[in-house]
């Protein structure tokens, strides 16, 4: 069944220069493999479209049931240079929770 990512995960996002990171954390241990299968760098890049100019990298933290996504070129130059309201990528994580995934 198709559900939003918010059904199985919570997130937190922030910045390092012009890169935003999103931590995606499974709400329960059984959700972690689904996150690994569904939340791929390619899908995340496509989901955010024009907002992310560079590549998306993914790291795995099985001990926390979490992945860490790095969205390069995602903050309009970053920090003090950026003209965006969310220059620090604070809302990327919440935004990703709307992405549709297959939950089984």
């Amino acid at each position: 069944m198709k559900v939003p990512l918010s059904a199985i995960a919570h997130t937190r996002s922030g910045d390092k220069g012009d890169t935003s990171n999103i931590g995606v954390i499974a709400l329960r241990p059984e959700h972690y493999p689904i996150i690994l299968r569904e939340v791929t760098p390619e899908r995340v890049k496509a989901y955010f479209g024009d907002l992310v100019k560079g590549e998306v990298e993914r790291f795995e933290l099985p001990n926390l049931g979490a992945i860490n996504l790095l969205l390069h070129g995602a903050l309009g130059g970053g920090g003090t240079v950026s003209l965006r309201v969310d220059a620090q990528g604070k809302t990327y994580g919440a935004s990703l929770l709307r992405m549709e995934i297959e939950d089984a």
Binding site: G14, N21, I25, L61, G76, V81, D86, R98
Partner: protein, 444 residues
């Protein structure tokens, strides 16, 4: 076991937090993290205007307010409040709290040494773009090396009540009391990694104890009195994250996990001046309400280089807003945006970037935003940036006329023309660690 509390996640964080940490229960060390990447450049500008400034000015009055209790209960304070002028910060602290012994850590400020470094062949290329430092040399405002926990621990070894540093890493503030009290060695990699990760968990204050937490956020108790985090550290490197019992908020593996992932890069290679920490070895356990035990952390050797934090001027920017009301709020705001751009073009003004967002429609989430086809109002937000200050200034005069000479239904111009601000950009580079020598000075 020692208790290390963090009462400040950035300069501008809740003023009451450090006072509550002292008043509401037992702690041994109070750490305060004041510095973000941009903060150093702001402080540098303040010091240029007044040689007695350039530090976090909230800090001396706070220590004045807490001085008697710190002394009575033997609570030590470690803060990177010194900014670009730790010596002046120390004098201000002594003025506010004459009975305290203050130790200052010097050596992170390399602003006056950059040309020597360049002459020695260090190109200090930007870690993101790869460009050499010479391309921005004339526009540099500040340059500091991130220093680690060992100089801070040495300052604690002097018996000081307050340790003041400049650009120490955020995590070093928390690791330093462990090195000082447990006698950890500079190659105890697993323990140093554990103390570093403890520092990462509490460095943003309440962001690990209920603040900004997505899980069950509506039911996290008493956020008006949110408790700032406390690490109960053991000599073997394991620790418990908690808060004072009477305080609000929540410490749970959910809140701690969110903060562990915050502003993380490669989780296996979290580099600091003290060690390389491996976040994939962290084991969390909820042992009781508001108590999360953390164990199993592994680390590796510290890198041979230290990171430099360099700020420089990079042109000008201005951001202005107007509000368009229903009906057709979004088409009207879009039309206004097109008109502004056309008028700037007609004037022959060019910018590095013009960027438009529509609040209520797509500002935070871009194409990922939920559809909102007929919003009751939309805020148009246009920003420009460029090297030519006059061009940016002219932009600020092109927005408000739209209230009379653009699409109908515009309002929200109450604050007048938006200000033109100088952009202070941030450059990070590496330098061999041998080039940076720290020194502890005790003042009382």
């Amino acid at each position: 076991m020692i208790r290390i509390a963090n009462g400040q996640g950035f300069w501008g964080d809740w003023l009451e937090a450090p006072v509550r940490l002292v008043d509401e229960g037992p702690i041994d060390f109070l750490v305060l993290d004041y510095l973000a990447e941009v903060t150093m450049s702001i402080l540098q500008k303040q010091r240029q205007e007044d040689p007695n400034l350039g530090y976090a000015r909230d800090f001396p009055p706070l220590i004045g307010r807490l001085a008697d209790k710190l002394k009575q209960r033997n609570i030590k304070v470690i803060a990177n409040a010194g900014g670009v002028n730790p010596a002046a910060c120390a004098l201000a602290v002594l003025k506010a709290a004459p009975g305290l012994k203050v130790a200052v850590v010097h050596g992170d400020d390399v602003f006056d040494r950059l040309d020597t470094f360049l002459a020695a062949g260090y190109e200090m290329r930007d870690m993101d773009t790869g460009e050499p430092l010479t391309s921005i040399r004339s526009r540099i405002l500040s340059a500091n090396a991130y220093i680690g926990a060992f100089p801070l621990a040495k300052a604690l070894d002097t018996g000081a009540d307050v340790v003041i540093a400049g650009r120490s890493t955020d995590t070093a503030l928390t690791l330093a009391p462990m090195v000082h009290r447990f006698g950890w060695k500079s190659d105890d990699w697993d323990k140093l990694a554990a103390g570093t990760i403890a520092g990462h968990i509490i460095e943003c204050g309440a962001q690990c104890s209920g603040g900004n937490c997505q899980v069950d956020w509506e039911n996290i108790p008493d956020m008006a009195n949110v408790g700032y985090p406390i690490i109960e550290a053991e000599p073997d490197g394991s620790f418990t994250v908690t808060k004072h019992e009477v305080a609000g908020g929540r410490v749970h593996s959910d809140t701690v996990k969110e903060q562990l992932l915050y502003e993380l890069g490669d989780p296996k290679r979290y580099l600091t001046p003290d060690c390389t920490a491996d976040f994939t070895t962290v084991h969390l356990e909820d042992t009781a309400p508001n108590r999360v035990r953390v164990s199993g952390i592994k680390g590796g050797p510290r890198p041979p280089t230290l990171k430099l934090s360099i700020s420089y001027t990079d042109g000008w920017k201005a951001i202005g807003t107007l509000v368009y009301s229903w009906p057709q709020a979004l088409p009207k705001a879009r039309a206004a945006d097109r008109i502004v751009r056309q008028r700037l073009e007609t004037l022959g003004l060019h910018y590095d970037e013009i960027y438009t967002e529509f609040f209520g429609v797509n500002a935070c989430n871009g194409p990922a935003a939920p559809p909102n086809p007929d919003p009751p109002e939309v805020q148009l937000r246009i920003g420009v940036r460029g090297k030519n200050r006059k061009a940016v200034d002219r932009f600020t005069r092109e927005l408000i006329p739209l209230v009379l000479n653009g699409p109908p239904g515009a309002t929200g111009f109450g604050e007048g023309r938006p200000p033109v601000r100088e952009i202070v950009a941030y450059w990070s580079a590496l330098i061999p660690r041998e080039e940076i020598e720290t020194r502890v000075e005790v003042i009382s």
